[in-house]
């Protein structure tokens, strides 16, 4: 990383006035972390269409979620929390066996929400420990999203219904509110500004304002938050990375995936 100081003089029409050096950091891009085909969690560098995978930070991962600064990963019996810039400093916490769904808060705190499939239990993770909450929805929980007063989750209550419900759980009063639904029972990923889901051979990115983008991609098996603005997609044709930053949406295949085939 290269730090640069540039002197700006800013005159902002009476609303603000500032004159100070601007701090700039110039570095190779790190898009986040992805789970590779051998279930190892590896950093991704570069840009989506010309990405490089770094050395594994940990292996035997069955779920994970990353922000720009931290990752929380679930192995069979533990949670691992590490800084994206220093994966060697991982903090390990025992956790219920089995798969999980993870959502890391994108704020200044490093809190996260977790759903343990094995115990069908929601939990809040903070500072290296987790604590369960007394709420369990019926159905299969597909995704979580941290919010200011709790979390949103996508759940399929009836596999024959063809839809997944997006609901909100408030930690303030324990209330549950139905927010939305998507027409799929496949992979769903709740994003800060929308929802990404797979349906009918397509990957659909639906924004909060209901606008949506579609990407042709068949046989999506898993969606994970690789980093801020990036989602890893596991599909039959290989591993992909989707840029979700508004205006820069792009689907690209990750290197080293099983086959370089088309979508």
């Amino acid at each position: 990383m290269r730090n640069i100081l540039v002197h700006f003089t800013m005159f902002l029409a009476g609303l603000l006035w500032a004159t100070a050096p601007a701090r700039a950091q110039l570095s190779p891009p790190q898009l986040g972390y992805i789970k590779d085909t051998s279930a190892a969690l590896r950093p991704v560098y570069g840009i989506p269409a010309a990405a490089f995978l770094g050395d594994p930070a940990t292996d035997a991962v069955n779920a994970f979620a990353c922000t720009a600064k931290l990752c929380l990963a679930k192995t069979d019996t533990a949670l691992l929390r590490f800084s994206t810039s220093d994966p060697a400093s991982a903090i390990r916490t025992e956790a219920p066996a089995g798969a999980a769904v993870i959502a890391v808060a994108n704020g200044t705190t490093d809190g996260a929400w977790i759903y343990f499939d094995g115990t069908q239990q929601f939990a809040h993770w903070q500072a290296g420990t987790w604590s369960g909450i007394d709420y369990s929805p019926s159905g299969a929980v597909l995704s979580l999203r941290a919010t200011a007063d709790g979390f949103d989750y996508a759940v399929v209550r009836d596999p024959t219904s063809g839809s997944a419900w997006i609901e909100h759980y408030s930690t303030a009063d324990g209330s549950v509110t139905v927010l939305d639904s998507v027409d799929t029972t496949g992979s769903v990923l709740l994003l800060d500004s929308g929802v990404l889901y797979a349906a009918d051979g397509q990957l659909i990115l639906r924004r909060a304002d209901r606008t949506q983008l579609t990407f042709p991609l068949a046989d999506v098996a898993a969606l994970d938050v690789a980093g801020k603005g990036y989602v890893e997609i596991e599909a039959a044709g290989g591993l992909w990375i989707l840029t979700t930053v508004p205006g820069f949406e792009q689907l690209a295949m990750l290197p080293g995936t099983p086959n370089g085939g088309g979508r």
């Binding site: 290269r2 640069i4 540039v6 700006f8 003089t9 800013m10 005159f11 902002l12 029409a13 609303l15 603000l16 006035w17 500032a18 100070a20 050096p21 601007a22 701090r23 700039a24 950091q25 110039l26 570095s27 190779p28 891009p29 790190q30 560098y45 570069g46 840009i47 989506p48 269409a49 010309a50 990405a51 490089f52 995978l53 603005g229 290989g238 840029t243 930053v245 508004p246 205006g247 820069f248 792009q250 690209a252 295949m253 990750l254 290197p255 080293g256 995936t257 099983p258 086959n259 370089g260 085939g261 088309g262």
Partner: protein, 465 residues
């Protein structure tokens, strides 16, 4: 014609036994098989003007060296060839070989005596009426040694030749046997035929090259035996047409490479495709992001099935490749191994220098600063000048546009990333923090312009959340 050796007794020409020369024994040699000859050897019949060589082996069966001091022929129609200068000393248990050629002549019977030291062997040969053989294209021959070639034939293909057996005599000629050996050669011709005077017989022989290898056989026509040969080979693939689904390549993109043959492959072929990259800028030596996804490599195997025109890469009809983040030229070269290509199986495409390409741009507010994060690539490695314009939530510009030149910083950044081969090419992430005071929530969006040698890139309406 193929040499044959058949020994039998010929009582009329019985000579004295080789008692005085018991240390030397004689035999004929065909292949690796020796057949003892004691008093007489009868050559197979040959056609007029043909010759027939027979190999004789003289072996010293004693325990002491023995010299051959006499090796001679008397008679008509035979000739000793390739002999060494006499005397020839043969060590105990060792042998020497020499050849006796039956040169024949007009139709008739020929006799001669072969003398080896004191041993005398009677030789007899016959010249009989024989048909003449000719072959039509694509076959060639027979040459002086009786060789007929079917030439080179693509694997799995056939070559059919017409053989003509003519009777040059004034009376009918029975040609027997007519036989073919060699599994690659087939004919429906009967095993014998009577050809009227001055007439001819035609038949076809089909050579099938089931594999890419050399084949041999023989055709016997009466007293004449002709060798047959043919070679199967893998037909070179026609050079494929390579395409990538667009008219031009751009940096920071992924494409699917397809390769289509102009005509179906005559056989299944496995090969490799190799891509290489030459940067346009001397500032870098390579861009390792230029690669095929499948193997994270610049080499990928391909297969094209028999009767197919599409090359398959790991079973897929296209090979995904990345163009990296550097301007330059990408070359794809196909290698079909021993089969090869009949044309130029190479494609070279240029990735032009382009303005900076942004892959993400976000803006955020800190407590005392406005923070811009941009990620992108500059395939010219020349970026630097930038401008920033802020807008309020109603889209009204706040203050004047700010300019800054980051050229030295980017040059230093790229040098630091380089070291010969850049890991992430020209990809960069620039996070700019603009210290500010006041109510930062009034700032709604910002525009950014970035300049490099290829032009100006604008990112408009980067919204603050």
């Amino acid at each position: 014609m193929k040499t044959r050796a058949i020994a039998f007794l010929f009582a009329a020409l019985c000579m004295a036994p080789v008692a005085a020369n018991a240390q030397i024994t004689l035999a004929t040699l065909v292949g690796t098989v020796q057949t003892p000859v004691t008093t007489f050897y009868n050559y197979p019949a040959i056609a007029p003007n043909a010759t027939l060589d027979v190999t004789f082996v003289a072996t010293n069966t004693s325990t002491t060296p023995t010299a051959i001091t006499k090796l001679a022929l008397s008679g008509i129609g035979f000739l000793i060839v390739n002999t060494s200068t006499l005397p020839i000393v043969i060590e105990p248990g060792k042998s020497i070989t020499f050849f006796v050629r039956f040169t024949g002549g007009p139709v008739g019977t020929y006799q001669a005596n072969l003398q080896v030291n004191s041993a005398i062997i009677g030789l007899q040969g016959s010249v009989v009426q024989a048909a003449t053989l000719s072959v039509a294209s694509p076959c060639t021959g027979p040459d002086a040694s009786g060789a007929i070639s079917f030439g080179r034939v693509p694997q799995t293909q056939t070559a059919t030749c017409t053989f003509t057996v003519a009777n040059p005599y004034t009376q009918a000629l029975l040609v027997a046997p007519i036989t073919l050996t060699g599994s690659a050669f087939k004919t429906v011709q009967a095993s014998s035929a009577s050809i009227p005077a001055g007439q001819s017989l035609t038949f076809t022989v089909i050579f099938t090259a089931t594999a890419a290898t050399a084949y041999s056989g023989s055709l016997t026509v009466g007293v004449q035996t002709f060798s047959l040969s043919g070679t199967g080979f893998l037909n070179p693939l026609p050079a494929p047409t390579l395409s990538f689904g667009a008219t031009s390549l751009q940096s920071g993109k992924q494409y699917g490479l397809t390769a289509i043959l102009p005509s179906p492959a005559s056989t299944t072929v496995n090969g490799t495709i190799v891509m290489s990259f030459t940067p346009a800028s001397s500032a870098v030596k390579d861009d390792t992001a230029v690669q095929f996804f499948a193997a994270s490599s610049r080499v990928l195997p391909f297969t094209v099935a028999q009767e197919s025109t599409a090359l398959l890469f790991n079973g897929q009809s296209s090979a995904g490749f990345a163009t990296g983040t550097t301007a330059g030229t990408i070359t794809f070269k196909l290698d079909a191994g021993a089969v090869g290509f009949s044309g130029n199986a190479v494609a070279t495409w240029t990735i032009d220098a382009a303005p900076v390409s942004l892959t993400a741009a976000t803006a955020n507010r800190g407590s005392t600063s406005l923070i811009l994060s941009i990620t992108g690539l500059d395939n010219t490695y020349s970026m630097g000048p930038m401008t920033f314009t802020f807008f309020d939530r109603n889209g009204k510009q706040l203050g004047s546009t700010i300019s800054a030149d980051f050229t030295p910083d980017f040059q230093a950044f790229y040098r630091g990333q380089n070291g010969g081969v850049i890991a992430t090419g020209s990809a960069f992430q620039l996070i700019l923090s603009f210290p500010a005071t006041g109510d930062l929530t009034t700032v709604g969006s910002m525009n950014v312009q970035i300049t490099n040698v290829a032009g100006v890139t604008s990112a408009s309406s980067i919204g603050f959340p």
